[in-house]
């Protein structure tokens, strides 16, 4: 298998869409302490626009650690409702074991 060494900027992709009036932040790739630096301002911008509902579509998120958990927690502090759509098994496991199921709505 060929070595792939994507640049730091490329290994977590983010895209913002609106579905039924709710902003949806789609994340794919690997979310860690480096890639999160690019994602955090996008989330803050969506929240600053006065949205009290926010969804993350994470079906393409292959990796996340406690940096991602912290990002989701901070979003739940600022938005009235945060949905986490289509979590991959590792994302679901982290959300469950850190108790975030109390703070956000997981949509399978």
């Amino acid at each position: 298998m060929a070595e792939r060494e994507p640049t730091d900027e490329a290994y977590c992709a983010v895209e913002v869409a609106t579905e039924d009036g709710t902003p949806v932040i789609r994340l794919s790739g690997e979310l860690d302490m480096v890639s999160i630096e690019r994602i955090r301002p996008v989330v803050e911008e969506v929240l600053a626009a006065g949205n009290d509902r926010l969804a993350f579509d994470v079906r393409g998120l292959e990796f996340m650690d406690s940096s991602g958990v912290a990002l989701l927690v901070s979003a739940t502090r600022k938005a009235r409702q945060v949905e986490l759509r289509h979590p991959t098994p590792i994302v679901r496991r982290l959300i469950e074991l850190t108790g975030l199921t109390e703070l956000l709505l997981m949509v399978p």
């Binding site: 990796f63 650690d65 940096s67 912290a70 927690v73 982290l94 074991l97």
Partner: protein, 131 residues
């Protein structure tokens, strides 16, 4: 199999450390690989954020289990916290390691400055076969 590698005290090393361990482990089932990857990331992140020194990743892989130890020369005293509240913004790293590993521990800087945090995870599945 034992392998060691040293990483620069740089945020980019966190991902490099994950890849280093995953490449050495090879195929072990996605759920276990995910858990290993998260734990390596947490330990490497601790070293980069709190110690700010180069850190070593030492792996010991057998048919039975994988042990990974991350050592830095920061002389810090990482502490496991009780389950963080859902809304706290930090302090989840070692809690996550505690939850995903079979065993883990901290080897504090006794006299010297090297602090190590390690975890062990079983490489056998429920049927007792290496997957």
């Amino acid at each position: 199999m034992r392998i060691d590698r040293s990483f620069a005290p740089d945020a980019a090393s966190v991902r490099a450390a994950r890849r280093f361990v995953l490449d050495a482990v090879g195929d072990a089932g996605q759920e276990r690989l995910d858990a290993i990857s998260v734990m390596v990331s947490e330990l490497a992140m601790n070293a980069v954020q709190y110690a700010r020194t180069a850190f070593d990743v030492r792996m010991e892989l057998t048919d039975e289990s994988l042990r990974v130890e991350v050592s830095d020369a920061g002389g810090g005293h990482p502490q496991a916290r009780p389950r963080p509240t859902a809304s706290s913004s930090r302090g989840r790293g070692l809690f996550i390691v505690d939850q995903l590993s079979d065993e883990w521990g901290i080897i504090p800087a006794a006299g010297g400055t090297e602090t190590s945090v390690w975890f062990r995870i079983s490489m056998r599945d429920a049927q007792g076969m290496r997957s």
